[in-house]
Amino acid sequence: MKNVESNHFDVIVAGAGTAGITGAAVAASRGLRVALVSTGPGSFVLGAGCVEVQGIDRNTPSLEDAIGFFRGFTELAGCGFRGGLDETRLLPTILGSFQTVSLAPFYMWNGDPSAASQVAVVGIRGLSTFDSNYAAERLAYHASKLDRGAKYTAHEIELSVEEGTFPGTLQFGNRYDRDVYFREELRDALKPIAAKANAILLPGILGLKSGQIEIEWLENQLGCLVCEMATLPPSIPGMRLFNRLEARLRKAGVEIFAGFPIQQVQIENGHFKGVLLEAPARPLHLTSETLILATGPFSGRLLGASSFSVNRDLRPLDSTGAVIADNLYAAGAILHNSTARGGNAMAILTGYASGMLAAGVGVQYAQG
């Protein structure tokens, strides 16, 4: 029997948002034994995980490596990101505006007006959270102002719903995952629209667990690009991304402790020792060589503050400017000034850098 200490890890990552997941993935890819500790799926439930790089210093060391790693990891997870640091796309929102992004999951990437000239904006009868007429009108207006030639037309399809229910994105998403007849019903409803369009814009309903195979099946059947837009929470494309990335981390050997908040971060003489999780009955004690703190902008004050400045090696500093612990790194929106534009790019960058630092690879992260 291998003598693996079950609750001792090389690295503990706190937080399962974009930064924490990236950090955990990097550390695991470097052969480390990783624990991912989380309460809830970060901001994935609210959005779709798209990345914009505006506001990020392009000369930041390791930015390109970080984005490259992230693209590779999401590809393996079946929800590959398209785009890159030098790309800019305008992706439609359900309110008929355009959002500037540099990277997006493949199921959103094709919504850019330059990618298609005839765009069908498809609503679902009874779905109160998306109005295709309104969205098509606004998208056409914005596209013409931006001098993009795409034409937007509004459509409405009717989909069956479970008896006694109203159409809802969560119902459709779950049925897309579980029910082959529903997928066929959706395909058949979209077919006549697809025949006259280059791209279809849909509210996000294509499954909470589906990956490239399941979604590209629809595109192939329709012979037309399909692009989803995130709707009100729960965002189906966002939760899909989270579920796929989490499943991929499990496959990579990451041990996941979901649902139990951190009660205490144990630091002795400037050295991180372990965390106590608020498990039932008694705290669960996990120890590790390194901690990556990626608990986001709304987390509790675990180390005396709810956001931190860091030094060049991503080590968080206390109010006097001193390093809190020599084996503690911070990543994502818990860093000062990181909630402005480029939040997810910062999360990927700092998540990547902290994972590499935990693996003992001398990546430098310079702020600003």
Binding site: M1, K2, N3, V4, E5, S6, N7, H8, T39, G40, P41, V45, L46, V161, E162, E163, G164, T165, G168, L170, Q171, N174, R175, D177, R178, L208, P233, P234, M239, A247, R250, E255, F257, A258, G259, F260, P261, L277, E278, A279, P280, A281, R282, L284
Partner: protein, 407 residues
Amino acid sequence: MRKDDISLDNCLKCADCNTACPMVTAHPAYPGPKRLGPELERMRREGIECDSDWLEYCLGCHRCDLACPSEVNVSELIARAKAMHKKTPVRKMRDWWFARPGLLGKLMTIAPGISNFALGLHPVRGAMSGVMKITPERSFPHYKSSSIRIPDAGTAKQGERVVFFPGCYIQYNEPELGCHVVQLLQLNGFKPEVASTGCCGVPSLANGDAVEARKRAEANVNSMVEAVDAGAKIVTACSSCGHMLKTGFANLLEGDAELEKKAEKIAANTFDLGELLVAQQDAGKLNTRFEPAATKLKLAYHAPCHQKSQGMGRPWYNLLRQVPGVEIVDLNSGCCGMSGTFGFKEEKYPVSMKVGSELFESIRNNAPQAVVTECATCQMQIEHGTGVKAMHPVDVLLNAYKESARN
């Protein structure tokens, strides 16, 4: 004020809980934990009538609690509403029995031969379906009257004292598994005894019988607290019993300070057997005298919901994947849908199977020789839904030891 009273206001309506709920996933008409929990709780606290038959469909899996980023005790709010829910007379009568598996077990094991024979007869099952609304689709587990014996193990006499809490299923349906638990404990240097307690109370709570659940909690707490005071650990091998001992007793005994204190003591000293063995391993004390494997054993692990809710990682998965010859994958395919007695209810049988369909598919794709899971009713559901043998991890681990180590 209790923690969950405050946490109600933490609900931001992000609907994470709804995306995690196995019932919402399989059965879109179910209003979901957000609605039945925090949203309606606000009404209930104002005294507004909002009882709903949907409360009966909460599986009690606690996945909503684990998904919530704001630490709202969602399932607890639903459980309390369930306890106030008014049922039809037939369901009330049936659920009265389902809430008392300990009593059922005692009655059935008076003459287990006759009980098992009768429960296997078509006319009997037809009548149970007609009168009690118990589905004829499933077979009942066999009842056995043998008791859990503790072999006289010379060296184990000196070991650390532990009290094994068998729970209803092991006690009345699979006492051999109880014997295996005891053997495994002895092999690892513990001095086990078997608790003379009844049902843990999970089935009572699941069937909305809070009064019975409280009785069970009180009886269990009183019968085990002495051993805990004397320094013994309580060991469970059923994930639902373990979940109850760790999380449920103090809530149920709210209002009686003395009992609550005892319940907290029990909770703090309750260990899942896998958790206990992993701690032994961490301390370098796990018995590893395993037989070299003659053949490969391809297994798939299903983590029961009440295993996840205990917040202890995956002790059994991590133990078994270190056993020679064992190849094991974690299915990670959600809830099985059985939820104890839920799957036996005629009107709930179809949705119970629908919830489990993702797990069944995953098992078929992995094609293991057997599925390993700690929960007895998960085992029943897996065998019923896939035809693949399901077993408790205790049996896999015990089999791995050398004959010499076992004797």
